[in-house]
């Protein structure tokens, strides 16, 4: 398979997953679409350069994760000059928009109380990644992934029990 065919196939199979993940990380739909596009061009460059990519979905999500963070860091430096970057306040996150209509106040609170890592692990798990793949995406150890998930699920469970 040529690098281009490989990229097209991956684009069709994983474009939505990459877009969803970038969106969940807090990017606007517009930005998420740009990042997604860039992720697949990076993929093409790597495949063309003979890089061996074994877990395509995990690889794509890792690059998406890193590009998104780079974007936040850069955007923050330009807009506010603040040291700790955050999602620009003018851009309510997709979850915040949905949660305004959310019946379950408890779930609302629980999701907002998740740490960024817990949230990333949960989202990647929903995408069907195994713990080892999540670890590769986030650059953390597999036991850490288990711990983040355990705590995240516990928070959600306790919230729903209220």
């Amino acid at each position: 398979m040529t690098p281009q065919d490989d990229t097209v196939e991956s684009y069709i199979a994983f474009r939505d997953a990459v877009y969803r993940y970038v969106l969940i990380l807090g990017a606007s739909p517009d930005r998420a679409q740009d990042v997604t596009q860039e992720v697949f061009l990076q993929y093409y460059r790597s495949v063309r350069g003979d890089a061996r990519i074994e877990q395509r979905k995990a690889w794509l999500l890792r690059v998406a994760h890193n590009l998104t963070i780079n974007y936040f860091v850069a955007a923050d430096r330009i807009s506010t000059g603040a040291v700790v970057p955050d999602v620009p306040s003018s851009e309510p996150t997709p979850e915040a928009r949905v949660l305004q209509n959310e019946r379950s106040e408890a779930l609302h609170r629980a999701v907002l109380a998740l740490s960024p890592q817990q949230k990333a692990c949960l989202t990647l798990r929903v995408e069907g990644l195994r713990y080892s793949e999540i670890a590769a995406v986030l650059g953390i150890s597999r036991p850490s992934v288990g711990e983040f998930l355990r705590r995240a699920v516990r928070k959600l469970r306790e919230a729903l029990r209220e």
Partner: protein
């Protein structure tokens, strides 16, 4: 020790890992048996499933309300545009990434590698000290947020304004994966707000490999100073060949030159491995200290290098023995390993460079080389 052992019931970890199919089979069997016997734990498992279901539904609602604003671009057209851009900027010619290092180039690369180890990092490390009060300590990404302050909103994970040693380690690991930590003139410098990866005099294709491998890592900035310099413009394949004066070449037979080349290649390779091991120690000596997870990952890279070094060393020794130098005997072993590495490199270059006065025959130099090889052999044997 998990929660089950303390309370007689399954812990959250048991339940979550079991439902995710991440437990080893004997553990999974234990959890399955317990669940079939224990109503409390079965309720907990059902609640866990319900919580996961709610989260998935929430995400579905989020995504349903956030369709991509524009139609997706045609990826084939994007790739064509990318190729066109790169054609005009002149990179990506089909060249071999792994060329044979000439002795002069090898020495130059080693010198650059040696220079790149620490000094520039010091200010960055010192600058981090006052930041240690911040809740987001550098290098703690896998550990700190667990019991930490809940995020006030939805934030991208692991975001920090400054790179820490764990980010630096990730870069070093990736360069290791693509073999860019073996004396190739690629330096990694963690600065205050970024991790600079600089490659000197690399081919276009090699630059591309490095850029792709590091694609999108946080804080990373790749630079290729002098990429369009005379070095590439002249030969197009990296370093210029060593100038050889035919009058000097005549002094050695083809077999001698081949053997010299082989020794130089093997010693370059060996030195690169040994230097890489040492550089890792120096680079991550801290402060701040790496967490145990990071230390383990460094040890893994070092073990890779040493395994390869042992193979190369066996080859080099066999070549040296065929050269019939074994009767020189071992000498005093008073030098420390880093000195030995530097001197070994100097000696190899001295001994095997074409030279008018036939340095290859210098018995004192050969004796010294033997001593250094002995030292290196010991050092390798100890790891």
């Amino acid at each position: 020790v998990n929660e089950a052992n303390r309370t007689g019931h399954l812990g959250d970890d048991d339940i979550v890992f079991f439902l995710d199919g991440e437990l080893p089979s004997h553990e999974a069997e234990r959890v399955r048996k317990h669940l079939s016997a224990c109503w409390a734990c079965r309720t907990a498992a059902a609640e866990t499933e319900a919580a996961v279901l709610e989260f998935v539904r929430l995400q579905e609602r989020v995504l349903a309300s956030e369709r991509p604003p524009r139609p997706w671009k045609d990826i084939n057209a994007e790739i064509a545009a990318l190729e066109a851009r790169e054609q005009t900027s002149g990179s990506g010619a089909g060249r071999s990434w792994f060329r044979r290092f000439s002795p002069a180039w090898g020495a130059c690369a080693l010198a650059i590698a040696a220079l790149s180890v620490v000094p520039e990092r010091r200010p960055a490390v010192l600058n981090e000290a006052p930041r240690s009060e911040s809740p987001l300590k550098p290098g703690d990404s896998a550990v700190q947020p667990l019991g930490g302050v809940p995020a006030p909103g939805i934030r991208a994970p692991e975001m920090r304004a400054q790179p820490g040693p764990m980010e630096e380690l990730r870069v070093v690991e990736i360069l290791h994966e693509i073999g860019a930590d073996l004396g190739e003139p690629v330096e990694v410098v963690r600065e205050r707000e970024r991790i600079a990866v600089r490659g000197h005099g690399l081919t276009g294709q090699r630059r591309e490999i490095i850029v792709a491998a590091l694609a999108g890592l946080p804080f990373v900035k790749t630079e290729f100073p002098g990429a369009q310099s005379a070095l590439n413009a002249a030969g197009g394949t990296g370093p210029p060949p060593v100038e050889t004066d035919p009058a000097h070449q005549d002094r050695r037979t083809t077999a001698e030159i081949d053997r010299s080349n082989e020794i130089v290649d093997l010693s370059d390779s060996l030195m690169a491995r040994v230097s890489a091991v040492r550089n890792l120690d120096v680079r991550f000596a801290g402060p701040p200290a790496l967490p145990p997870d990071g230390q383990l990952r460094i040890a893994t890279i070092q073990e890779n290098h040493l395994r390869e070094a042992r193979k190369t060393w066996a080859q080099l020794k066999s070549v040296l023995e065929r050269a019939n130098w074994t009767n020189l005997g071992p000498g005093p072993r008073e030098l420390a390993l880093p000195d030995a590495v530097v001197e070994f490199d100097r000696l190899v270059n001295f001994l095997f460079a074409p030279s008018e006065n036939g340095a290859a025959a210098d018995p004192a130099a050969i004796m010294r080389l033997r001593q250094l090889i002995g030292l290196l052999d010991e050092a390798l044997g100890q790891r």
